[in-house]
Structure formats: C-alpha cells, structure tokens
C-alpha cells in the first residue's frame, strides 16, 4: 500500500500523450489487420487471435515501460487492460488450437510456447494484482512478445501425436512443467527487482549485462565456420521442416561473413566487462564512463547484427560443408539464434533504463525485504511443482519406455534444476541466506531452467526430441 501511495503523489505529467499514442498505434494495427481479414474472410482463426494477442501484449509492454519511466498511475491501468485483452486473445488461440488438434496444446515446441506465453501473462497479472509488483510487466511482456514472434516462425500445422505421446501423463507432465517454469521465471524477475531495490550498484548490473550478452554471442560463435561464416540449420520450404542428413543429424549451411560480424559484436559487448574489471583494479572513473559509452555502441552493433542476420537468413541459399549443392535457409530454422539476438538487445536496453531511471524504479517497487520474501514464496511454489513434474515424467516414462529413469539429457537437466533449487532452499533455511546471495541463487536457478527448456532440446541429443 505504501508504494502505491508514493506513486500516486507524483505529478501525472505527460501521461496522456503515451496513452493516446499507444492507443492510436493499437487501433491502426487493428485497422490494417482488419483490412487483411476482410480480404481473406476468416475472422477468428488462430493466426488472427495470436496477432491480436501480439498487438495487445505490445501495447501492454509500452505502457509498462511508460510506467517504468514516468510512474504515471494511469499507465499501469492501461497496461493491465492491454494485458487482459492480450490474455483474452491468447486464450482464444489456445482454445482454438485445442479444439482443432483435439488435445491440449503441449505436443510441439510451438504449442508449448503458446501455453508458456499464456501462463506468463496470467502470472504477470497475479503478481501485479496480488503482490503489487507493478513493473514486472516491463520484464515479462517483452518475453511474451518474443514468444509470440517466435511462434509465427515455427511450424504451426497440427501434427498427429506419435504413439508415445498419447497419454494423459503427457498433459499432467507438461502442465506441471509449464507451471513450474513460469514460477521460476517469476522468481527470476523478482530476484532482479530485489537487486534493484537492494541498491546494488549499476556498475555490477553493467558487468552482468555485459557478461550475459557476451555469453549469448560466445555461444552463437560455436557455429563459427571457416572463412568467417556462420552455420545455421538448412530449411526445406516444401516440408516446412529442418533438413536432416540422418536421424537426429541436422544439415548445416554456412552464411558467409556473418561470423566475422558476430565476432565484432562479441568484442563490443564484452568490452564493458573488460573496462569494468580495469575500473575495479585502478578505480579510474574514466573506464566506467567509457564502458557506458560502449553499451550504446554495442546496442547499435547488436541491432546491426540482428538486421544482417534476418536479411541474410530469410530465404537465402547457401553452401553446406556436409553435402553438395545449395540449401535454403529460413528464420524459422534458427529460432534460438534469433531470440538470442533479440534477448541481447533487450537486456542492454533494460540496463539503460536502469541507468537512467534508477530512483523512479526504486520508488515503484515493494521494499527489498518484501521482494526477498516473495521470491522465496514463488520458489516454494516452483519446487514442489518441479518435483511433481519430474515424478509424473518418470511415471509416464515407466509406462512408455519401460524405465522410470534413463539418464536422458532432459531428465538429467531436470534433476540438476531440482538440485539447484534444493541448494537454494537449504542455504536459505539452514544457513539463513537472505537478500543478495539468495537472489543470485534464484537467478542461477532460472538460467538452469532455461537451459533445460531450450538448450537441451537444441544442443544435446536424446529421447525428448519432440519437445
């Protein structure tokens, strides 16, 4: 309540301009979309519903961001409203999918993203209404947008379920996984908010941002090929699927010169980290100033890398090292490179927001103690869900593969996630870890969750190949 009061005392200046602008933007997009729909004549299709959700989530993100910057209470009302509208459209898309496929939307990575975005929107509204963490939409809504955009690229056709997936346990397992992962995502966002509220120095955030983006580009550069190319998965337009050489082996093609560009960007995003280290050593503030400038430069370069990647990957034809001839590429075949690039830009922008609007943000958040407690509570919800998710998966595997545990990479990483959160709980309960250390632990836990969700599917071989 105290936070709300503080926010409302602030003058509501310039608030209406943003409201009008975003409102007009949404109306314009809907008008354009409507013209298209009139032409095709199919109003309530899944694609249209998703597009509506995208527009609303976009509006919500702008309002949340606007609230983050100006603190105008009206913005948060409109942001909630837009989130509700987006959620409504998203629910429609989920229902449409469910009806069309005849099973809950959990069977492919597309359907799982659909459910994930839905859960995220619901949790955002809960966090906002129940726990009064108002700016959380600033983090979660862009994530939802990236999710919806990714969905546009992935194959959307309803595929029949292979025999192993025809089980009630699929739904139990995946529902629990989505709930657990969304709770972990929330605990991560809360831990970040805690670090802001805990007066953690912006320099530390600078180093973390730099480290994170550098990690993204370093992992992209594992695809660095001879002559400075970057290898991406080939895509067959007719079959709308990745090209495979043999079972489980994707065919990679090399896009020339893109690798060099990524190297340059890696240098640019890593530079602030190096400068930060120099500053720690010499205490010369000149380094820090330079580091902040480098963040700007790196954002420009990252945007450039994104543009080049999109232009060259979309509908290009390139040579492969593994097979003769040219193969087509598509953005749809590299969703994770794309989201990595977008994520890097997004994190750098968030850092800038923090740099400029630190004190405003601090006013709008609950107290550090409260955030710490809520983080713990979300993990207290996530951990039993994780446990049940693993148990349901094991029971299902026992019915399908004849073994409840086979050390499949996905299983192993789920167990690792479980162990990391178990570590968090033990340190917190028996060692009394509170505050910053606990927040770091929560962030680490979410990083492991993300790796389990995406990384294992795309980087490691295994039986969870359909998801």
């Amino acid at each position: 309540m105290a936070t709300q009061a503080r926010v409302e005392q602030r003058p509501a200046a310039k608030g209406t301009i943003l409201v009008v602008m975003v409102g007009l933007g949404i109306a314009f997009l809907f008008f354009m979309a409507f013209l298209n729909v009139v032409k095709s004549g199919d109003l309530l299709s899944e694609a249209n519903l998703l597009y509506a959700a995208l527009i609303f989530y976009g509006g919500a993100a702008s309002f949340y961001l606007g609230f983050g910057i100006t603190g105008t209470p009206a913005h948060i009302r409109f942001a909630s409203l837009a989130t509700w509208a987006g959620l409504l459209a998203n629910t429609g898309a989920v229902a449409h999918r469910w009806y069309e496929a005849g099973h809950p939307p959990f069977a492919s990575i597309y359907e799982m993203l659909l459910s994930f975005v839905w859960t995220l929107a619901v949790l955002t509204l809960i966090a906002e209404k129940k726990y009064r963490v108002k700016v959380i939409g600033t983090v979660t809504m862009p994530v939802a947008i990236v999710g919806v955009v990714l969905m546009q690229l992935l194959r959307t056709d309803v595929r029949p379920l292979v025999p192993a997936l025809q089980s009630t346990w699929l739904h139990v397992h995946v529902t629990l996984a989505m709930l657990a992962y969304a709770a972990c995502a929330l605990s991560f966002a809360l831990a970040m908010m805690f670090l802001i509220q805990d007066k953690m120095k912006t320099e530390t955030f600078l180093a973390a941002t730099s480290l994170f983006t550098a990690a993204i580009y370093a992992s992209l550069l594992t695809r660095f090929e001879k002559w400075g190319g970057l290898s991406v998965v080939a895509w067959s337009a007719e079959e709308r699927s990745e090209v495979f050489i043999s079972k489980g082996m994707r065919l990679f093609v090399v896009i020339p010169d893109l690798g060099w560009l990524m190297c340059v960007v890696l240098a640019a995003v890593a530079a602030p980290l190096v400068l930060y280290c120099l500053w720690r050593k010499t205490h010369n503030d000149g380094y820090l100033l330079l580091a902040h400038r480098m963040v700007f430069v790196s954002i420009l370069l990252q945007a450039l890398a994104l543009i080049f990647f999109v232009l060259r990957t979309r509908d290009g034809h390139y040579y492969s090292l593994d097979a003769d001839g040219q193969f087509a590429t598509s953005l749809a075949a590299s969703p994770f490179i794309l989201s990595g690039l977008v994520g890097g830009i997004f994190v750098s922008l968030l850092y800038l927001l923090l740099l400029w609007r630190r004190s405003d943000l601090e006013h709008m958040l609950p107290s550090a103690d409260d955030l710490d407690r809520i983080t713990y509570k979300t993990i207290a919800i996530a951990f039993p869900l994780l446990t049940l998710m693993i148990a349901a998966g094991a029971y299902w595997a026992n019915r399908t593969w004849g073994s409840y545990w086979s050390w499949d990479p996905k299983e192993t990483w789920a167990a690792i996630t479980w162990l990391v959160y178990a570590g968090y709980l033990h340190m917190r309960i028996t060692r009394g870890w509170r505050g910053r250390r606990a927040a770091y632990f929560a962030i680490l836990g979410f990083a492991v969750v993300m790796f389990t969700f995406f990384g294992v599917t795309y980087l490691l071989p295994g039986m969870h190949s359909y998801a």
């Binding site: 025999p163 025809q166 089980s167 039993p384 094991a394 004849g402």
Partner: protein, 477 residues
C-alpha cells in the same frame, strides 16, 4: 586424537558445507554426462567419429563415456545419501524433542526475548484465559490449559507435524535411492521380437546375453493403425502368457499400456516388417477349365488342389532380382515379389516348378496342370517388445508420494504456537501476556497473531466493561 577421527568424519559428513559441495559435484558430473556422448545410448561408430582416438581412450579410462554407471558416480551418490542420513540423524534428536515435548509454559526470560507479543490489562485471570481459549479455538488452534504449582496459563498450537516434515522429505529421497539401487542390482532390461503366432521364453539382453523367463510369452496378433497422412497412430499386440502349455493371462498392449506378469513388464516398442511372408493367396485354375479355387499357403506349406495334385510354396522372395540364372533377394521390402511353387502329382510322382512371375530358365509353368494367379500377399510383421524387471520401483513410487506429501507440509503448513500467560507488572497490575511464534511464513503469522490478539482484547473489554459481573462470580461459573 585417534578416537576423535571418526567423530570428525561424522561431523563433517553431516555439515551443510559437505552437503553443498557434494551437490555441486553431482551437478557438474551429471552435466558432463549430458554433454559428452555416452556409450549406452550412442552408436560405437558415432563416438569414434566424434572424438580423436587418444581423447576417447582417456574418456573411456576415467569413465566419462558412461558417467551414470561409473563407480565414482555411484560413490558420489552414496556419499550424498550418507550425508543426508548423517545430517538428519544429527539434527533429528533436537527436532524430536521439540516435537515430542513442546515448550508449553514460557519462562520470563523467554517472554522477554520473544519478538511477537502483546500485553493487555485485565481484571480477572480466569475470565481472560477463557476468552483467549474461545478466540484461539475459533481461529483453528488446539488449546491446552497448563497448570503449574504457582501459575496457570494457556498454550495453543497448530500443525506441529510441520516440524517433522523435512525428515519425511529426506527419508523419501533415501527411499527413492533405495529403489534405484535395488533396480540397478536386481533389475534388468531386455528386448524381445516376436512374429505373429510365435512364442518365446528367452529375452535378449543389451549386452548380447539371454535371460530365461519362468514362463513363455506368445504374440497372437499385432498391428498398426495410421493417421490419414500415413504417420503411425497406434501399435498394438495381443499377448498371452503361457506356463506349462497353459494360457494364464491375455492382454492387448499398446504403447503406454504394458503387460505385467510376475514383476516382468512387456512394453510395445516397435512394429514392422520381418521381410518374411505370412500367407500367400492364389487363384488356381485347372488347365481343363473344370476347376477354379483359391488357396492360401504359408512358406513351406502344402495345399491340395484335387485328389491327386498338391502345391507347395517352396520359396517367397519379397524383392527379387535374377543374376546368372539364379534368383536373389535384393531387400526385405515388398517391392518386386516372386513366388516359387512346386506342383506335385501323387500318381505320376512328378514335381513341376512354377514361378510367379515366370522366370526364364527356371520356370516350367507350361507343364503345370494348373495355372496360378497371385491374389493377395500378406507379409509377416514382428512386434518389438521392451521387457523390463524393476523390483525396486515400488520403493521409488512410495518415495515420490511421500516426498509430495512431505514437501506440501514443509512449504504450506506452518507450525504456529501462541502462549497466553496472566502476569503482574512491576506495579502489581494484572496483565495478560500473549506471545506467538511460527516456524516459517512469519509475516503472515504476525498478521494472524495481531488479529487474534485484537479479538481477545476486544472481547475482554466488552466483557469487563459491558456487564459488571463480579470477578468471583465469573470464575465460580
């Protein structure tokens, strides 16, 4: 010094630091096991291709190509279990004392130190305690009057079991480990491939050996259903369990729904063509036109066409090719089939080779008293069954259920205690001291405590101001 060494080990094992180090080691090594290609799940060639020979030798030597079965990984997991056990044993007595003999009548020192408490003026001890009892009872607390030599007070609590739940969780983890150990020691996995009508009592182990079952399993029929786009929708097999020639059990299994008999489970794993013929249906027409009939024969079977003539299916090739005057099979797929029939006559005891289609140099089709035409080819399918025996799985499931229960209690049930003690302050004024403590979720408890204290205060006030009943009368009631 010598005597203290085991004690030191005991202390170290139970420490949280040891536990965390072991956890981190487990995490790192398991992660390594997902990144490095593992022998049991990867083809030997693929591993050979992925690593250089020296590297592979090194990985094999330290067991990194089979992390989850390496002795050091097993040792690590045992150490984790040992650490859980010691930590639990070390902390248990304290917790048990706390659980079994709750602290019911607070001393003055305790009362002073407790952060959550409230004092209110009262006129009568007995009436105040009675009010407190009623309010606490309504809020869901179990209350108890504590009578000591020179004092009496009230103790109320809720969800004491919450103090023990963490041991339940630890025990459940050990139970799961136990199940895993039993299965690693006594369990096995195998594969069994059956054709229709075939039976077997031996299954193929992954290491190439065989495992003898105490009974036989027979596949009566098996099949596949497809979606309209041709991808498989369902595989099924009708299995029968036989012992001493008697059929004991019959079940249709599908993927996700195995047959279980005496702890051995049969799973539908795959389904496909064996490349062998099941039945060939032929239309046989006698040369003199007197006779037309359909015959169905399997490989090697003989069917009679009339009282004198029989036909035998000598060979069936699903995908044939002729080279140097001989017939070879090119593949197991039904692409280009050929059948070799032998038509025999009892009277003349002559055998004529009939080939469908006629293969020059081999066929004697023109001499056969019957002409044949292929009508239907039914290929034999095999059903692939995974077989497993996991005697420890019940411990695992029991552990899982116990863990779910334990975690729910650990996280969502709060052990809260409230003490109500009538005291006298420095000036001898009678007061009611109310104090409370909770083992977690303290902010929510404080809210609850405030509500309870307020309700008690309110009721006491109305009681004492509203109706002027002499204190003696009230207590006499």
């Amino acid at each position: 010094m010598a005597a203290s060494l085991p004690r030191k080990i005991w202390q170290t094992l139970g420490g949280i630091k040891t536990g965390v180090i072991l956890l981190i080691l487990t995490v790192i090594l398991s992660a390594a096991g997902t990144v490095i290609l593992q022998r049991p799940t990867t083809d030997a060639d693929e591993i050979q291709r992925a690593y250089s020979p020296q590297m592979l030798r090194l990985l094999d030597a330290v067991g990194l190509t089979d992390v989850f079965h390496a002795w050091w990984f097993v040792l690590l997991l045992s150490l984790v279990s040992l650490s859980v056990v010691t930590a639990s044993v070390q902390r248990f007595p304290n917790a048990w004392r706390f659980f079994a003999r709750p602290y019911k009548s607070p001393e003055e020192a305790f009362r002073k130190a407790l952060p959550t408490h409230k004092l209110m003026r009262i006129k009568d001890k007995e009436a105040a305690l009675r009010v407190a009892e009623r309010v606490l009872h309504k809020t869901g607390f179990r209350t108890e009057r504590i009578v000591r030599e020179n004092s009496f007070s009230l103790f109320a609590e809720r969800n004491r079991i919450s103090e023990m739940a963490v041991y339940v969780v630890h025990a459940s983890l050990l139970l799961i480990f136990l199940g895993g150990i039993i299965d690693a020691e006594f369990g096995w996995r195998a594969f069994l491939s059956l054709n229709r009508g075939e039976q077997a009592s031996q299954v193929q182990l992954p290491n190439g050996g065989k495992h003898q079952l105490a009974f036989a399993i027979r596949c009566d029929s098996a099949g596949q259903e497809n979606y309209s786009d041709g991808t498989p929708k369902r595989w099924w097999s009708n299995l029968a369990v036989l012992q001493d020639g008697q059929e004991l059990l019959h079940k249709q299994i599908v993927v996700n729904d195995p047959l279980v008999y005496r702890g051995v489970r049969f799973y539908q794993a795959s389904y496909g063509l064996t490349g062998k013929l099941d039945r060939l249906v032929l239309t046989a027409v006698a040369r003199n036109g007197s006779h037309i009939r359909d015959v169905a024969i399997g490989p090697g079977e003989i069917a009679s066409l009339d009282s004198d003539t029989t036909v035998r299916l000598a060979d069936f090739i699903p995908d044939y090719v002729v080279e140097d005057g001989r017939v070879y099979a090119r593949s197991n797929e039904l692409v280009n089939p050929a059948a070799h029939l032998v038509v025999e006559s009892k009277k003349s005891s002559q055998a004529i080779n009939v080939w469908l289609p006629p293969i020059p140099g081999l066929e004697q089709n023109a001499y056969s008293p019957y002409t044949f035409e292929g009508k239907n080819i039914q290929m034999a399918y095999f059903t692939g069954l995974e077989v497993s025996h996991e005697p420890g799985q019940w411990a695992v499931w029991a552990g899982v259920v116990l863990m779910g229960f334990g975690l729910a209690v650990v996280f969502y049930l709060v052990h809260s205690r409230i003490w109500v003690v009538p005291v006298r302050d420095a000036r001898g004024q009678l007061q009611l001291w109310i104090g409370g403590a909770a083992n977690k979720n303290k902010d929510a408890f404080e809210q609850c405590f405030d509500d309870v204290a307020k309700a008690i205060e309110c009721e006491i006030k109305t009681l004492e101001s509203g109706v002027e009943v002499p204190a003696a009368l009230l207590s006499a009631n």
